[in-house]
Symmetry: C2
């Protein structure tokens, strides 16, 4: 994933170009959507070209180069935008907050997310840089889940000896796999978040 | 993924060619290993060619065509072989059997499994036929987990209202994601299966 212009080398990879020019929000959205479409269809990140994105979005290549320093920055903006703003837990019930966090990762535009992630997985094995950038997008989201779990331990809702990192994995992996490997209808989409959180909270052992 | 010879069309996709010729186990293993190597490196299933497999395995293309009817059959045999024989639960303790099943999916040659699966995920989105074949390999393994869980419900080790399908997802997805998305060392490899099963059994809620 190379810099596309000499000018680009003077900017950090994840920064958009300087403000000042009027932004065309509609074109931005079409461009970011085009990136996600290409990834969700199974294009590798390496195969996503500025040409293909421009053609899909119906804009000129120059429009893209004016807004993003390079392809890395464009792909990361697309992933970041797909995930939407960070969800905000209400802070009353750990159960309710965990359900909300799982639903936030499964609803609306986030539905494309598991497809895009699936298509990026082979890239992650080959490209540590891309994997690190993706982790940088995911980590603040995992932090929200960590905070909810830690609060639950503090308030006594959750067991004192809870392994927080393992719990984050248990609250995220089944949801991702459910989408990627088509577990519906064996595990129905309807009520999925509630069922998973309740199973996680109460445990499988007979009491 | 097309038939490679006219003769092949008379055989089912997942059958090896008829016995009778002496089998060369060493060449077979080199060929299947070559397929897994190519997939684990990020090749798409579509991009895996008989030529590339032959070159990697150090055999002639004819050696491959003599043993496998087509590329589908070759890839499925490679995936099937990687998973090894079906694990056999001891049947005394549900906890012990679940730990054994998770370890069976993480040890030895199965280590390549999450990489190969990761590289096949984009294909699954594009190719229902390949996804169905992969499911046909996975389903008997999930059945082993289902039987262990059902037995636990019958013996009273597990709660009577356990959602078996959700439980299968909870006992498989975290393990896959742990490898694919590099959760170690946040969740250490050492003791992973035991920690996951115990967290699943006892639940996160304070009692």
């Amino acid at each position: 994933m190379d810099m596309t212009t000499a000018e680009a080398t003077s900017e950090t990879a994840q920064e958009r170009k300087a403000p000042g020019r009027p932004r065309n929000a509609q074109a931005d959205e079409a461009i970011l959507d085009a990136v996600l479409d290409l990834l969700a269809e199974g294009s590798s990140a390496a195969a996503v070209s500025i040409e293909a994105v421009a053609a899909r979005a119906g804009v000129g290549k120059a429009t893209i180069y004016r807004r993003w320093a390079n392809k890395d920055a464009l792909i990361m903006d697309a992933i970041r935008g797909m995930k939407g703003p960070l969800p905000e837990p209400v802070g009353v019930s750990v159960r309710d907050d965990l359900i909300m966090l799982i639903k936030a990762n499964r609803s609306g535009r986030a539905k494309r997310y598991s497809k895009v992630t699936a298509c990026l997985l082979p890239e992650f094995l080959r490209d540590d840089n891309l994997f690190d950038m993706w982790q940088a997008v995911m980590e603040p989201r995992r932090d929200v889940t960590r905070r909810v779990l830690r609060r639950g331990v503090e308030t006594g809702e959750l067991r004192a000896d809870l392994d927080i990192e393992l719990a984050v994995l248990m609250m995220t992996a089944p949801s991702m796999m459910h989408g990627m490997l088509r577990w519906a209808p064996k595990v129905p989409e309807e009520g999925f978040a509630e069922s998973l959180v309740d199973a996680f909270l109460r445990g499988a052992a007979a009491s």
